[in-house]
C-alpha cells in the first residue's frame, strides 16, 4: 500500500549530514553502469516517433500565419482539397473552437485556456492557419500553396512594454478564454509575494542598489523536432505516438479538444530525441489526431527545424528590475525583484515560469525583507513555454549579476559576498510559502547543502586568485567570474508519480513507470533504485515507461522531479515487493519473517538455508498459496529540496573584434546522492552547453513585422564542440533525507549558470558590465567603442 508522506508539520527537518555513511552501503545506486538503452541507440536501433510508419499513413503540413496579428476573414480550401493525394484540410471553420491550454501541466492547469486548434485570429507570425493531410509530404506541401486566406491585418504588439501601454491593441479580447489575468491589459498573469517590508529594509540599509536586466528569446532546440503519429487501433481507439514529456497530460488535453473520452485514447511515448521543456506541451498531436478521426487513416505531423524555432515554444524573455538594500559589511537586508515577462501570443506556462523566476532565485540569499512582483504580457511574437530552468535562468540572471555588481561597488570579493549571505543547511526558505509555483507553497527547510564545498572546489579548479594577475592592456584580455545557484526538486504538493513492479520466474522484475525518459536516463536510474531496494542487479530489472494504457500515472518529465518523486514511488513499490518476497519465503519455510534477510537476489534463513527469488517465484506462481508477487506505489512530496551549484569560468575577449572565447569552465554541483554519477555529470555538461548559448550566441532576430529572420541552425547558433570550453563537472556528495537513497535532482540547475556568469567574467576581463543577454562580439565592440 502506498504510504503517505504528508507534511503535517510534524516532519523531522533533520539534515542529512549524519547519513553520509549510507554511501558505503550502495550496491547499484551511486554507480555508473552502462545505461539500459545505450547500446540500441549506438546501433541506430532505438525507435523514435518517426521510426515507425503505420501502413497508409497520411502526411500533414501546416499553413502558418505570415502576419503577426490578423483576423482570418475567409479561408477557401476548395482548390487545395481537390489536389492529388489530399484527404483532409482542417481550419477554423471546420474544427470546433475549444479553448484550452497547450501547457502540459496538472489539472486544472495554471495556464490560461487561450489557445485553439485553429484560431480565428492569428496572433503571431507562425501561428496555425490550416493543415493539409495528403498521401505524401510533397502533395501536402503543394496543396498548402492553393489555400486562399483573406486576412484583416491588425496592429502588432512586438514588445511587452508596448503590450502594457495604455490603449494598446488587445491580443486576447474574446471573453471566452478562462484564466487570463487581465486580458484588457494584455496580461497573461500577474503575481506578487512579499516577506517583511522591503521599503523599510531599503531605508535601513547603508546602500541601495537598483539595476535592470534583460534576457531574451532562446529555444530548447532538441535535435529531434516535434512529431506525432496517430492511428486507430483494431478497437477503433485513438493511439497517439508522440515525442512528449507529458503522456498523461497529453491524453487528458486531447480528450478535451477532440471531445472523446480519455478511455478512447492511448498515448505512447517512444524514444525521445531531447525535450528540455519544449515537449512539455500538447503542441502537435491534436492535428494528426483530428485527421485520423476524420479519415480513419494513420497520420503524421512533424515540424521542420524552422517551424520548430518559430512555431513551437521558447524561453520567456524577461525584464528584471532588481533592488537590494545592503550594509557596509555586505549583509543583505532587503531584496526585491520586479519582472515584466513576454509570454508571446499565448499564455502557456506564463504564471508558473515567472513564479520560479522569483521563487527559485531570490531565496538563495538570506534577507530580512523580500518583495516579488511579476507581470507577464502577451505580445504578437513566438510563444514562451517550458524551458529547462523554467524561469530560474531569468531569475539568476538578475540575482547573480546584481550580487557581482554589489561586490564590486563595496570593494568586496564576489565569493565573500555570496558566502556571507547564502542559504545553508538547516535554514528555512522564507519565500517558500508566499511564492509557490503559481500560488501558495509549502514550508521548506534546507536539509542538505553542499554549496560551500561547490564554491571551494570551483575556486580552486579555476584558479580564482589569478584574477588579479591578468594583463589589461593587450588585444586579448582575460577574466574570471563565478555564480552560485539553486533550483528545486519537483513541485511540492503537485507532482505525483507512481510505479508498478512484479516478480518473474527467474527472479527478474518488470518495472512499469509513468515516468518519461526523454534522454535523461530515467529508465536506467529508476531501474537502479528498484534494484538497490530489491537487492538485485540492474540487469534483473526490465523497465517499460510512459504508455498511458500500460503504465501508471506520472505527471511527466519536468520540474526536476523524475529522480526525486518518481524515484521514491519506485523505491516504495520495490519495498512492498520485497516485503512480499520475505513473507513468501517465511511461508515456504513455515517460519517467522523476522531474521530473514534479502540480499543478492535471494532470501537467507538464519540457519543458512537459501531460497532464490526464482525459487520463490516458481513456488508462488505454480505451487502453493499461488499469487503474483507484485506491488505498486504512488508518491507526492511536500518538500522540494534544492540542488545547489557554483559555476566558475575563465574567458578571453578580443577587444578589437569583440570575439569571446570561453577557455575554462568548472561546474560543481550538489545533487544529493547521484544515483548515476556519469549521468549527473552529463546533465551538468549539457546544461552548461545550453546556458552558454543563452549567454553568448542564441538570439531571435525579428524584423519590424514580427517575423523571425534567423530560423535555421545556420543562423540560430547553438554551441558546437568547437565553441565549448574545457568543461569539468564535479559532483559534491551530500545526503538528502527526503530523497530516494539521498537523491535530489540535477537536470535543470546547470542551465542557470552561464548567462550571469559570462557577464561577471567579461566584466572582470574588460571592465564593461553587460546587463543584457546574449553578449555578442558586436555588443562588446559597441560598448568598448562607446567608452573610447
Amino acid at each position: 500500500m502506498a504510504e503517505e508522506t504528508k507534511n503535517t508539520g510534524e516532519t523531522s527537518w533533520d539534515t542529512g549530514d549524519e547519513s553520509m555513511e549510507e554511501y558505503d552501503r550502495f550496491k547499484v545506486v551511486n554507480k555508473s553502469p552502462r545505461r539500459v538503452d545505450a547500446m540500441k541507440l549506438a546501433l541506430g536501433k532505438g525507435t523514435f516517433t518517426d521510426d515507425v510508419t503505420p501502413p497508409g499513413m497520411l502526411h500533414v503540413k501546416m499553413l502558418w500565419s505570415p502576419h503577426a496579428h490578423a483576423r482570418i476573414v475567409s479561408i477557401d480550401v476548395s482548390e487545395a482539397e481537390a489536389m492529388p493525394g489530399v484527404h483532409c484540410v482542417l481550419h477554423c471553420n471546420n474544427v470546433k473552437r475549444i479553448p484550452h491550454t497547450t501547457a502540459g501541466q496538472g489539472f486544472p492547469e495554471p495556464s490560461p485556456w487561450d489557445a485553439y486548434c485553429f484560431p480565428e485570429k492569428v496572433r503571431y507570425v507562425g501561428d496555425r492557419v490550416a493543415a493539409v493531410a495528403a498521401e505524401t509530404e510533397a502533395q501536402a506541401q503543394r496543396a498548402l500553396e492553393k489555400i486562399k486566406v483573406e486576412y484583416e491585418i491588425l496592429p502588432a504588439i512586438l514588445s511587452p512594454e508596448e503590450a502594457v501601454a495604455p490603449g494598446a491593441t488587445l491580443i486576447h479580447e474574446h471573453p471566452e478564454p478562462t484564466g487570463i489575468s487581465s486580458p484588457e491589459k494584455n496580461l497573461a498573469c500577474t503575481l506578487g509575494a512579499s516577506v517583511g517590508d522591503v521599503e523599510a529594509g531599503f531605508a535601513a540599509s547603508d546602500h541601495v542598489f537598483e539595476r535592470t536586466y534583460r534576457i531574451g528569446y532562446a529555444q530548447q532546440c532538441p535535435i529531434e523536432p516535434h512529431i506525432a503519429v496517430t492511428w486507430l487501433d483494431e478497437d477503433e481507439r485513438l493511439t497517439v505516438r508522440v515525442a512528449t514529456q507529458v503522456p498523461f497530460h497529453s491524453r487528458r488535453i486531447l480528450a478535451q479538444v477532440l471531445e472523446i473520452p480519455v478511455s478512447q485514447i492511448r498515448v505512447i511515448k517512444p524514444r525521445i530525441g531531447g525535450g528540455f521543456g519544449v515537449k512539455q506541451e500538447i503542441l502537435v498531436e491534436d492535428v494528426p489526431a483530428l485527421v485520423t478521426l476524420r479519415t480513419g487513416r494513420p497520420a503524421r505531423f512533424c515540424l521542420t527545424r524552422p517551424e520548430e524555432l518559430v512555431s513551437a515554444r521558447t524561453r520567456h524573455p524577461s525584464i528584471l528590475t532588481m533592488k537590494a538594500g545592503v550594509n557596509d559589511d555586505g549583509t543583505l537586508v532587503a531584496l526585491s525583484m520586479e519582472v515584466l515577462g513576454n509570454s508571446g501570443a499565448y499564455g502557456a506556462h506564463a504564471l508558473t515560469v515567472v513564479s520560479c523566476t522569483g521563487g527559485k532565485a531570490l531565496p538563495l540569499y538570506k534577507a530580512q525583507h523580500y518583495r516579488f512582483d511579476a507581470r507577464v504580457a502577451y505580445t504578437n511574437l513566438p510563444v514562451g513555454g517550458a524551458f529547462r530552468g523554467y524561469g530560474a535562468p531569468q531569475g539568476f540572471y538578475g540575482v547573480e549579476i546584481l550580487m557581482d555588481e554589489i561586490a564590486h561597488e563595496l570593494g568586496m570579493d564576489p565569493i565573500a559576498l555570496r558566502e556571507k549571505n547564502m542559504i545553508g543547511s538547516g535554514d528555512d526558505n522564507p519565500l517558500a510559502v508566499a511564492l509557490g509555483e503559481g500560488g501558495e507553497g509549502f514550508p521548506q527547510r534546507i536539509r542538505s547543502c553542499g554549496l560551500p564545498e561547490c564554491i571551494r572546489i570551483g575556486r580552486e579548479a579555476i584558479g580564482w586568485e589569478r584574477r588579479k594577475t591578468f594583463d589589461k592592456t593587450g588585444t586579448k584580455r582575460r577574466g574570471i567570474g563565478m555564480v552560485a545557484l539553486m533550483q528545486g526538486s519537483g513541485i511540492p504538493g503537485v507532482d505525483m508519480a507512481s510505479a508498478f513492479l512484479k516478480l518473474n520466474d527467474d527472479g527478474s522484475f518488470n518495472l512499469l513507470v509513468g515516468a518519461t525518459d526523454i534522454g535523461t536516463g530515467s529508465d536506467t536510474i529508476l531501474s537502479q533504485i528498484a534494484a538497490e531496494e530489491l537487492s538485485v542487479g540492474l540487469e534483473d530489472i526490465i523497465i517499460y515507461s510512459s504508455d498511458t494504457d500500460l503504465t501508471p500515472f506520472d505527471t511527466g518529465a519536468y520540474a526536476s522531479s523524475t529522480t526525486y518523486i518518481s524515484g521514491t514511488s519506485v523505491k516504495k513499490a520495490a519495498a512492498g515487493v520485497k516485503k512480499q518476497i520475505l513473507a513468501a519465503a517465511a511461508d515456504m519455510w513455515k517460519c517467522e519473517v523476522d531474521g530473514l534477510v534479502a540480499a543478492n537476489k535471494a532470501v537467507t534463513h538464519p540457519d543458512g538455508r537459501v531460497l532464490t527469488y526464482a525459487d520463490i517465484c516458481r513456488s508462488t506462481l505454480y505451487h502453493a498459496n499461488q499469487h503474483q508477487i507484485m506491488d505498486h506505489a504512488s508518491h507526492l512530496s511536500y518538500e522540494c529540496p534544492p540542488p545547489f551549484s557554483a559555476h566558475f569560468c575563465e574567458v578571453e575577449v578580443d577587444v578589437e573584434t569583440g570575439e569571446i572565447e570561453v577557455l575554462n569552465y568548472v561546474a560543481a554541483v550538489d545533487c544529493g546522492v547521484a544515483i548515476h554519477p556519469t549521468a549527473a555529470e552529463g546533465q551538468t555538461e549539457g546544461g552548461v552547453q545550453m546556458g552558454l548559448g543563452y549567454a553568448l550566441t542564441e538570439r531571435y532576430l525579428f524584423d519590424d513585422k514580427g517575423a523571425m529572420q534567423n530560423a535555421s541552425f545556420s543562423d540560430y547558433k547553438i554551441f558546437s564542440s568547437l565553441d565549448m570550453p574545457e568543461l569539468k563537472a564535479v559532483l559534491v556528495p551530500t545526503y538528502e533525507p527526503s530523497g530516494p537513497f539521498g537523491a535530489k535532482s540535477v537536470s535543470e540547475i546547470p542551465i542557470n549558470g552561464p548567462a550571469p556568469l559570462l557577464s561577471n567574467a567579461i566584466y572582470d576581463a574588460i571592465g564593461v558590465r553587460f546587463r543584457e543577454a546574449p553578449i555578442t562580439p558586436e555588443k562588446i565592440w559597441r560598448a568598448l567603442h562607446r567608452e573610447s
Binding site: R35, I223, R305, E685
Partner: protein
Amino acid sequence: MSTITFKAVVNGAAVSWEVPVGEFLTETLRNHGLIGTKRGCESGDCGACAVLLDGVEVNSCVLLSAQASGHDIVTIEGIGDARAPHPIQQAYVDAGAIQCGFCTPGMIVATKALLEENATPSRDDARHALAGHLCRCTGYVKCLDAIELAAERVGDATKGGA
C-alpha cells in the same frame, strides 16, 4: 511524379530503388528500413543524418539520392550490429556519451571517418571531427571521451590486442 533508379551499394549490399527525382538520401534510406539515419535540421547543419559516401562523411539531408546513385554508402547500421557492435559503438556506450541518442548515429559515423584517416587523434582532432554534429544533451564532453576510448580500442584491435 518523376522518378529515377537509385542504384548503389548500401552497407555492402547492391540495391536498386525507384525514388522521386527530388528526394534526398536521408528520406530514401529511412523509407527502406534504415531508420538509424535521422532528420534534425534538413539544412546540413546538425549532422544527425551523416553517412559515409565512398568512405567520406557527408550529410545525407543535402544529398540528392540521384547524386548518390552509383556510389558506396555506409549508414550506422553498416558500422556494427547487435551481434557485433563496432568498438566505436561500444566506446560511446562505455564512456556514457549517449543520452537521448538522436545525434549518436551521426557522431559514430563521424568517428569512423576520423579513425580511418587518423588512428591516433588528439582530443582537439576529436573536437574538430564533431564540429558539424550538434548535440543538446551532452555538452560533447563524454563524446570526446568516447572518441579517445574508441581510438585506443581500435588501435589495440589492430595490433591484435584484446
